[in-house]
Symmetry: C2
Subunit: 502 residues, 2 copies
């Protein structure tokens, strides 16, 4: 073995020894990559070979962007302490970030955290304090983060292997508003589809009302039982009722009901799913009418990625105002920083006497890095680039859609906008049952890697979507090369499948 | 106003406009500090005035240590991507960290996260997957982090202002094993006190058994009721029972019982409380006998701070092996990184088919920074320094203990080890009821700030402890100056109180 081979083998061995086996490694079953350098939209292995990165929406302005590196270096050397001291970077960036939202939304208070997971977890705490209701409505196939509470609102986790199902005491799950393979199908611009999917959320809101009644009944059964035996009743049934009281009916100041509706503006892990026209507006209105608040999870899609807007929720119209927005991944181009942005009113409810302190959140380095990322988005016009290059990608995908129109390889749908796009593969015909074809997507991903040094990912509940969310400096040439590689992969799968039939 | 005054006023105004009001600011009620530079154990304001930092255990090897800054810069410029690619820094540091634990503990698998909160939250997930039990025993006055689930095991939060109390369905709270003002009092070296406090945990473990029986009884009541009405029974009572079923008795594969015992090796927010001899050994044995696992939270105390050992749990003896250790704050000297270290067996239970992915966790920058921090701890012999300077602090505190022995200013106890120490102030006499004197501690803190430019903190449930946990490069001279400042503060409080009596 050469010395680089030795080194790679050594790293792999140490990884198996010291890293949890469910912490996944790309291409683990073929040849995992040792990556030592990143620049713009490329990653470089130990031999200096470059790989086109179509996966990493975290390296938003390009891997190791010099302006961001310079800001990190400068601030690291000057000061890195917590938010209990005044610092200009913290407040200036907070003001700058809040100005990126529609003014009418009044999203002006920023809570600084270290990851999208911390952001969504905190958003749920804010919602609970503001509404005093414990319920949360999430969306089928969604992923919201890795804290214990967030696993509970992530069907992508609790509903797949290793999951223990939906936590029924506080979570309800709305159907995926997917106009391609969801419950109601048709044109994404069709407002009546938005209406139908929004009506599904209304149903869940009504279920909470039934839950409330059921809880009241349980309370009266408990009271009746305890009145029979007295508070000190030591018989089994009384003890059971006291246990019920402690566990389910405890006086925690919260009531059964929908405290929050949370949704990514484009469902990323769900497979680049965009809701139909008019969906969010109706859902937000209904949720608020029932006393809940609305959280837009922009961790994956925010900061200009969708091309035609700076924030994903703006795709649903100019009059869409979430009560809370969470941001993460791209905000620091890989530096661990994230944030929750909300209204003064909600922030005030959260200030109930309990301090919120986040050790690293909002330190001067995080804030300076975030500043530098926004600088680059603006000066290099990356949102405009996402719009332009995204169109090239969609054109290329549309050509593939025309070419791969039926079994054995069939593209069912082309979706997304800007640099947040995907191709869904299905088994059988387009008029068929739209059974997901994850096997095809995975084969294409592998082919692009091994033959083109292009890194793709697959997603959706069944890996049925080939997904692109590359650094925002992705070029038209990158887009064309990627479409060529995908086409070659699809052709190979087709040939293989036709060969197998012979 | 001068231009620096203008700038400070501007920052303060923006902070009020954009930062949540429960994100606290040091000395907000007197003069908050604008800090622009950090070096070693000093922070510098906008005029270049230095402040001795006795608070920040995050800047472990000293603010802006050049070796750590250099590592950050180097790695930021080369590569910052996620752990799905092989990288030497990730695995080498994981191996290096695991070697710092007693070999017999077999703490060899490292999960990388971004904060102590993420670490403790993940530790609870690991415990749940491994034991299939949902219960957690925490310790009175403890703080474990800011995620929603961690607030639920933090009496320091749920039991104080704004808290909604203990989540009775899964959390039990053991008494604070504080030999000074706790339930059982005496000498910290007295093994019988360790035994008494450990017996309190045994009681909680037995309560879980009663809960289990109560839950079984509830299930049979539900079954009986549903048998009467049939599954479809639409009467109120049946609906209530089905609701009970969904909420409390759902089939999530978990059972009522103690899945984990979690405790900081020295309770930091609790007020620098060290458990008596023999406590952890007995508690760990009992918890394991009941099928639970033991988590040592080393987020605040790890990495040599306690002086005589590298990890806080080692203070309880060479045969103490937690099943999970969580680390955070100091690991990256302020860079947002943290980790969960556990055994292969527990990591294997966690690998149940569900991927664990942490976007920023274990990126090459985090790992390189953590390496650099360990380098400095070793080359500058900071653990040894903590031991040496900690002794000077304790000597100084003992002198103050001798001097302030009775009302109106009375030091009740001197506690801690290494650079994790505190002074508890009480009202009245040492033989009295040991009523906490937070007012005195807060006055001393303010005096040290305004007259000596020394930054102290107060903690404990009633702010009754003056707390020191400075950067580990703290010197003997710093220690002596701090003791002088505290003495002056105590004298002033005494004079003021005596004057008020006249």
């Amino acid at each position: 073995m050469s010395s680089t081979e030795n080194e790679k083998a050594r790293i792999l061995e140490l990884r198996q020894k010291h890293i949890g086996s469910n912490v996944s490694l790309h291409f683990a079953s073929s040849t995992p990559l040792l990556i030592l350098k990143g620049e713009k939209e490329f990653l470089y292995d130990e031999h200096g070979s470059s790989y086109l990165d179509c996966v990493n929406n975290v390296a938003h302005v390009g891997h190791c962007h010099p302006h961001v590196v310079a800001a990190t270096t400068r601030q690291c050397a000057a000061l890195n302490t917590n938010s209990r001291y005044l610092h200009p970077a913290l407040v200036d960036y907070s003001a700058r970030l809040s100005k990126t939202f529609p003014e009418a939304a009044k999203l002006e208070i920023v809570f600084w955290v270290n990851s999208g997971s911390e952001a969504n977890d905190l958003a749920l705490r804010l919602a609970k304090e503001h509404t005093k209701k414990r319920g949360v409505i999430c969306v089928e196939a969604a992923y919201s983060g890795h804290t214990d509470r967030l696993i509970g609102i992530s069907p992508y986790k609790y509903g797949r292997k290793g999951g223990i199902g939906r936590p029924k005491s506080w979570v309800k799950e709305a159907p995926l508003p997917d106009v391609y393979s969801g419950k109601f199908r048709g044109d994404i611009a069709d407002d009546s589809l938005g209406q139908k999917y929004a009506a599904e959320v209304d149903k869940l809101l009504s279920e909470y009302d039934l839950d409330f009644k059921a809880e009241q009944k349980l309370k009266s059964m408990r009271d009746a039982r305890l009145a029979l035996s007295g508070d000190e009743g030591a018989d089994e049934e009384s003890r059971a009722m006291r246990y019920l009281d402690e566990c389910l009916l405890q006086d925690d100041g919260l009531s059964t009901g929908c405290g929050a509706f949370i949704m990514e503006s484009i469902l990323s892990c769900g497979g680049q799913v965009m809701p139909p026209a008019g969906y969010l507006k109706r859902v937000y209105d209904s949720v608020r009418k029932h006393g809940g608040i609305c959280i837009a999870d922009e961790v994956q899609v925010g900061f200009g990625r969708v091309g035609s807007a700076f924030w994903g929720f703006q795709l649903q119209g100019p009059d869409i105002y979430p009560d809370i927005v969470t941001v993460g991944k791209p905000i620091g181009n890989g530096f661990p920083v994230a944030a929750v942005i909300t209204t003064r009113e909600i922030a005030k409810s959260f200030d109930n006497g309990m301090e919120y302190f986040n050790t690293f959140g909002g330190n001067p380095v995080s804030a300076s890095v975030a500043h530098a990322v926004l600088d680059v988005i603006e000066t290099e016009k990356l949102q405009e680039n996402a719009l332009k290059v995204g169109k090239v990608l969609i054109e290329g995908f549309n050509a593939l859609y025309a070419e791969f129109a039926s079994a054995p390889v069939c593209i069912g749908s082309v979706r997304g906008t800007g640099l947040m796009v995907g191709l869904e593969c299905i088994k059988g015909e387009r008029n068929g049952n739209r059974e997901p074809d994850g096997e095809c997507c995975i084969a294409v991903k592998l082919h692009a890697y091994t033959h083109h040094k292009i890194l793709l990912s697959t997603d959706g509940m069944f890996d049925q979507v080939i997904k692109l969310k590359p650094p925002m400096c992705f070029t038209e040439e990158d887009a064309k090369n990627t479409c060529l590689a995908i086409r070659e992969g699809l052709l190979l799968v087709k040939e293989r499948r036709m060969g197998m039939k012979e």
